[in-house]
């Protein structure tokens, strides 16, 4: 059963599943068009640096090595309130800890939270959305109304109230963000699935006796995944921002372990005498978000043109 507002776009080009080039060719095309777009290239480089640092630091942390130049938690590795210098790239804080090392240590947390939340939202949203589109009826209606409710509460505020119920901490924040992040994806997936629901290859699959789940898994999800991925790539920055906000409010990782947002709020008290202290963590958050949105914009332009 399909909702009455289903109208396959008559004039648009018909995406045919079999005409998709192999994913390696596809990837090469995308990479070459990113290279041509200056903005996307800048975004790509920023994201690559962030991801490499995060992965390296994650491996280092789990094997017990130290990637950062100084221990991020031990106090008095340097003088207190040292200005940025070659020895301490971003200066040192009130406890004589190296700010640069703390920022590096925080990278896997901040990126980890955003990737976890986005991947979860993407998977759940895609499945729920396309299932609702093909099932129609009460299930579809219920999904749309639930997403309406989620849209009425700002993500940060809802995460805050969930955090009160679950208690602060990085795991609870990730769970809170997962709970609230999937509805827009479900909505997007539903819309995309409705667009292709009347395509010939879906009809063909249905006529050949494929069940609803098989059609969704084999034909719908592969065809809507590109749109969802583009949306997700633009959305990673938003999760970084919201998580930074939560951690600024003291709901993220507990000190002494560092987190970008939490560092800004902790160093805010010293901003008059040592303005670089809150400046660098804030700048890193902004840089990360800029990187992801530039890359996302580039991907969007490539894939929609």
């Amino acid at each position: 059963m399909l909702s009455p507002d289903t109208r396959s776009d008559e004039e648009g080009p018909v995406p045919v599943a079999s005409s998709n080039p192999s994913s390696a060719v596809r990837l090469r095309e995308i990479l070459s068009s990113i290279k041509a777009d200056k903005g996307a290239m800048v975004g790509f480089v920023i994201v690559a640096i962030f991801v490499i640092v995060a992965l390296a630091e994650f491996v280092a942390q789990s094997t017990g090595f130290l990637l950062a130049p100084y221990n991020p938690i031990k106090t008095n590795v340097g003088p207190q309130y040292a200005a940025p210098s070659l020895a301490h790239l971003m200066g040192t804080d009130n406890l004589g800890r190296d700010v640069f090392s703390r920022i590096i240590t925080a990278t896997p947390n901040d990126l980890g939270v955003s990737f976890t939340v986005i991947i979860f939202a993407l998977c759940i949203g895609a499945i729920v959305g396309s299932y609702a589109a093909f099932h129609g009826g009460i299930l579809d209606e219920a999904l749309m109304r639930v997403t309406d409710i989620f849209f009425a509460i700002p993500a940060l505020v809802l995460a805050m109230s969930i955090a009160l119920a679950l208690g602060p901490g990085i795991t609870n924040m990730t769970v809170a963000l997962m709970i609230i992040w999937w509805p827009p994806y479900a909505r997007l997936a539903r819309g995309e699935a409705l667009k292709i629901a009347h395509q010939n290859y879906i009809e063909a699959a249905r006529l050949s006796g494929a069940g609803r789940s098989k059609i969704i898994l084999r034909h719908v999800l592969p065809n809507i995944s590109l749109t969802l991925l583009v949306y997700a790539s633009l959305d990673i920055g938003t999760v970084i921002l919201v998580y930074a906000g939560l951690s600024y409010l003291g709901l993220g990782i507990k000190p002494p372990y560092p987190d970008w947002g939490q560092m800004v709020s902790a160093y805010q008290d010293f901003m008059l005498s040592y303005p670089w202290l809150p400046f660098f963590p804030g700048l890193i958050i902004a840089l990360g978000v800029i990187g992801f949105s530039l890359l996302g914009d580039g991907l969007k332009n490539t894939l929609t043109s």
Binding site: P154, V157, G245, L249, M271, G282, I285
Partner: protein, 357 residues
């Protein structure tokens, strides 16, 4: 288009009016439904705090005041089954009972909101004005000189604004304008030596104009600039982006080609045909802007010690004032639902071509 316009004009207009009315009614109904959903979520959250929610609401006060616990248990019918509690929760909300705030010495949360909300409204008003003016001006410049160096620098500027957390922008503005250049004051909504005007509209800025207290008005303008500018720097970018791309689409459309073919000057075409129609797309952004402003006030008001609702949320969070957090969540949802409703209606009014669905 029908060939004979006059015959069909009247019934058509009637259908349009009828459609608009039923559309607005449907939206209103949807809004009420959404609010009910939000209230239910806060109810579930309040009851998932583990054990007796009273202990969570009262915090440390609970153990020293057993009579308070009993009072709360009775008032919220906590010994009754869940659906009865839910009934009392909803009726309580409808009567304006949002609980009592531990952060503010157990005065009703509704009173706290009446006191703080007008200040947030002041910030939000100026933030919206700044972001729309800045956004439209830069969006127009961007579209006029698209792909040129001006367009690119505007893009870099708004990208930086949109990507920075609100607290980061606020901190930079505070350091630069207050501490380095001593240009603008910080802390409070106006100079603390000045008396707050008597509440008439409950919005201090308006009241001061009505009462002719221009010293207070001038001071409150000075105090509102930085907080609202920090919020606006995060939102104007979306206006630029949407206005620019919709301008570029419109300038490629057939009616613009016709206007040009008629021999109109490029500027006339650009502003009269282009900008007027592109402004419609800005209306759709209101939901995004309102959400961003609400989220932003929590940080910005705290950094500038501005006594609005965002500041209250911040303190409520630190002392774990649950009734305050849940009540403000509901208030925020009400604001968003209302602003979405207004935007939907505006959208239909400014562009009759929109399909009412």
């Amino acid at each position: 288009m029908p060939l004979n316009n006059q015959d069909l004009a009247r019934p058509q207009r009637l259908t349009i009016v009828m459609n608009t009315a039923s559309f607005i009614l449907r939206r209103l109904f949807l809004g009420i439904f959404v609010l009910l959903g939000v209230v239910t979520i806060t109810f579930i959250l309040a009851h998932s705090l583990g054990g007796n929610p009273v202990y969570a609401w009262l915090g440390r006060t609970a153990s020293s005041h057993p009579q308070l616990v009993q009072l709360y248990t009775e008032e919220y019918h906590l010994n009754d089954p869940l659906y009865i509690q839910y009934y009392y929760y909803i009726t309580g909300l409808l009567q304006g009972n949002l609980g009592y705030s531990p952060a503010k010495g157990f005065i009703p949360v509704s009173q706290v909101i009446v006191e703080t909300f007008p200040y947030t409204l002041q910030i939000a008003f100026f933030a919206i004005v700044i972001s729309i003016v800045l956004g439209v001006v830069l969006g127009v410049v961007s579209a006029r000189f698209h792909h040129g160096p001006i367009d690119k620098s505007i893009r870099a500027f708004y990208l930086a604004g949109i990507s920075s957390p609100a607290f980061f922008i606020a901190l930079i503005l505070l350091i630069v304008f207050t501490y380095f250049f001593h240009l603008l004051p910080t802390g409070n909504a106006a100079d603390p030596s000045l008396l707050t005007p008597k509440p008439i509209t409950y919005i201090p800025m308006l009241d001061s104009i009505i009462e002719g207290d221009y010293a207070y008005f001038a001071s409150s303008i000075q105090h509102v600039i930085l907080p609202s500018l920090s919020l606006a720097l995060g939102t104007f970018g979306v206006v630029v982006r949407v206005l620019r791309s919709s301008m570029l689409d419109i300038m490629r459309s057939n009616y613009v080609r016709t206007a040009r073919a008629k021999g109109l000057k490029e500027n006339t075409v650009f502003f009269k045909h282009g900008l007027r129609n592109a402004m419609i797309s800005v209306v759709t952004l209101s939901s995004f802007i309102v959400t961003w402003l609400i989220t932003g006030t929590i940080f910005v008001e705290n950094i500038f010690s501005y006594p609005g609702m965002g500041e209250y949320v911040f303190t409520a969070l630190i002392v774990q004032d649950y009734p305050g957090i849940l009540a403000t969540t509901i208030i925020f949802a009400v604001i968003i639902v209302i602003s979405n409703l207004v935007a939907d209606i505006l959208y239909v009014v400014v562009d009759p071509q929109i399909r009412l669905g």
